[in-house]
């Protein structure tokens, strides 16, 4: 009896020790002041920060760069990004390189607290020591901003950070990038950037009930700040399949003639990638094109037909009346709205990125999820500050929910072979009211804090 009791205590103690080892992480010593960095290292860090799109989450629109405080809505409540300027009290000024590297690889802050995986360390774990050193040099040489982090507002019991250790046990893979020796150096460079710092899957891979990316649905489409992030694997809904060259052009310039312009959170991504060398852009394109794979012969044929159609005489008419539209589609209630509100730009024949995309080429019109086209119809594409950019007026003030649904139903019927979207009027209502939170920003570059021109809602 007594022995059994002792054994029970021993098991309980072992369990407690195991849990402690799993959860506990030591605080790291504070970094002394006055570090200096090689300017070349800082410049490299700047490029890497652009790949990581750090500024997008760590900056409040209109606020100081990297000072944190942005409310990030998640299915588990709202998380506020932290101050990653080198302010010694409210930022990461006292973090050593070792503490910074641990946060990137293990999702633990300097004091030893577990960080929520809204900070994508499930990707950043792949970042090399050399790149972390450059990122550290870049961030530690930004202007320090004194700004305390706002408290998170998470559903019970997720405010208790030690639980994150359990999440990591289930979902966090070991740190370090393992190149695939069967692939080219360029492919491996692309994989390193896209899967690591670039964290493409953070938006483009769907997540499970615990917020972890579903491994066997890699790049199968997800969500970002209220936008649908399209599948960028074999299930890509693009009418003309992406290839390496198209991806590279798009990532470099933020638009492509048969795919349209980047918008929403992707506009920031392409805006930031502008500072990257061509070789890195090419590498990402090589990798993502390989994940997408070769299109089926049938899909390729369809794309060829579409290319001919779009480049053909029909396009040059520049007038909605000259296009052949089946009578049942032409009679839809959205037809006249489309002709007056949309066709003036989208059938003008004016080339991208300043003209409107021919909707036959539109991924938004051909995707099963109409969220993005609802968002763009309501709020438009805001122009970038101080530089040439694509621009589209929003129609939130002009069209009511029914009218938006009508015009989109017409576009879906006319420009896509997909089935009609259900409940677009309801989706429009929710998007307009802010019940569905969506952020609409201009495609500004990395040093500029982005503005939200979508509906303003509380945190």
């Amino acid at each position: 009896m007594r022995i059994r009791f002792l054994a029970l205590i021993a098991v309980a103690l072992a369990g407690a020790a195991g849990a402690f080892a799993l959860v506990w992480r030591p605080a790291m010593p504070a970094q002394a002041e006055a570090q200096s960095f090689d300017p070349a290292l800082i410049a490299k860090g700047r490029e890497l920060a652009a790949v990581g799109n750090c500024i997008a989450c760590h900056t409040v629109p209109g606020g100081e760069a990297f000072a944190g405080g942005l409310a990030i809505p998640t299915p588990f409540g709202t998380i506020h990004s932290t101050n990653i300027t080198p302010d010694r009290e409210t930022g990461i000024g006292v973090w050593s390189l070792a503490a910074f590297t641990r946060s990137m690889r293990e999702g633990v802050d300097r004091a030893g607290n577990h960080l929520y995986p809204a900070f994508p360390y499930d990707h950043y774990r792949l970042v090399s020591h050399a790149d972390n050193e450059a990122l550290y040099a870049y961030l530690m040489t930004r202007t320090p901003v004194r700004q305390d982090a706002l408290p998170n507002d998470l559903v019970f019991p997720l405010g208790f950070r030690p639980l994150i250790a359990g999440w990591k046990l289930l979902f966090l893979e070991p740190a370090g990038f393992m190149p695939d020796p069967a692939k080219s150096d360029e492919w491996n460079r692309g994989a390193y950037l896209a899967e690591g710092l670039g964290h493409c899957g953070g938006c483009h891979t769907p997540r499970n009930g615990l917020g972890a990316q579903i491994a066997d649905q890699h790049f199968d489409g997800g969500e970002a700040e209220g936008w649908h992030a399209y599948a960028i694997n074999a299930n890509s809904p693009a009418p003309i399949p992406w290839d390496r060259d198209a991806l590279a052009f798009y990532l470099r310039h933020g638009w492509h003639e048969v795919h349209g312009v980047s918008r929403g959170p992707m506009a920031e991504v392409t805006g930031n990638l502008g500072g990257l060398p061509d070789s890195d852009i090419e590498a990402i394109a090589v990798y993502v094109a390989d994940v997408m794979g070769e299109p089926s012969p049938e899909r390729r044929q369809q794309a060829e037909r579409l290319r001919e159609e779009v480049g053909g005489p029909e396009r040059t008419g520049g007038d909605a009346d000259t296009l052949a539209v089946p009578p049942d589609v032409a009679g839809m209630p959205g037809a006249a709205l489309y002709a007056a509100a949309c066709a003036t730009c989208h059938e003008s024949g004016r080339p991208l990125p300043y003209g409107g995309l021919d909707f036959r080429l539109s991924t938004a019109v051909n995707a099963d999820n109409p969220q993005n086209i609802v968002t763009v119809t309501l709020f438009g594409l805001p122009p970038a500050d101080g530089e040439a950019s694509s621009v589209m007026p929003g129609f939130a003030g002009a069209l009511d929910d029914r009218q938006v649904a009508d015009v989109l139903a017409y576009m879906r019927a006319r420009f896509s072979s997909g089935t009609a979207w259900p409940d677009v009027a309801e989706m429009t209502r929710r998007t307009r009211s802010g019940e569905h939170k969506v952020v609409v920003r201009p495609s500004d570059g990395i040093e500029r804090a982005p503005l939200n021109v979508g509906v303003e809602v509380g945190p």
Partner: protein, 163 residues
Amino acid sequence: MTVKLKVNGTVHEVDADPATPLLYVLREDLELNAAKYGCGLGQCGSCMVLVDGEATLSCVVPILALAEREITTLESLGTQDDPAPIQSAFIELQAAQCGYCIPGMMMSAQALLQRNAAPSDQEIRDALRTNLCRCGTHMRILAAIRRAGEMMSAQAPANRRAG
């Protein structure tokens, strides 16, 4: 085909194709010429009017979308003898040069000031993001909008001009 439009408080019956952009009907049928044709693509803002109080680009909105809606043009805000705050402020601060964009600027500003009579400069810039001016009077336009906000706040209790 006849379409009913409520413009500046009056219902008009207009004989036009329902797909006609509002701007054409305002200028050609109703002879309300404050809203200007600039780009015709909803990108320059010179055609701005209010629809149910929201700044709306009249060159890209067909009249069929506007049945039962309150359309407000610059003409209804005030007259030469009795200008509205936004008009007085633009005159006071001499915020126009060639003037072509100014009615659109005023309507975007009016929509903003009706919601918020004391906007920050950033809020003014955001609200007028799609109003272009080639003359470069932007700083005076900003000042005029701030001034109009002050005037509207001062007369708010009387609520003289509900747009």
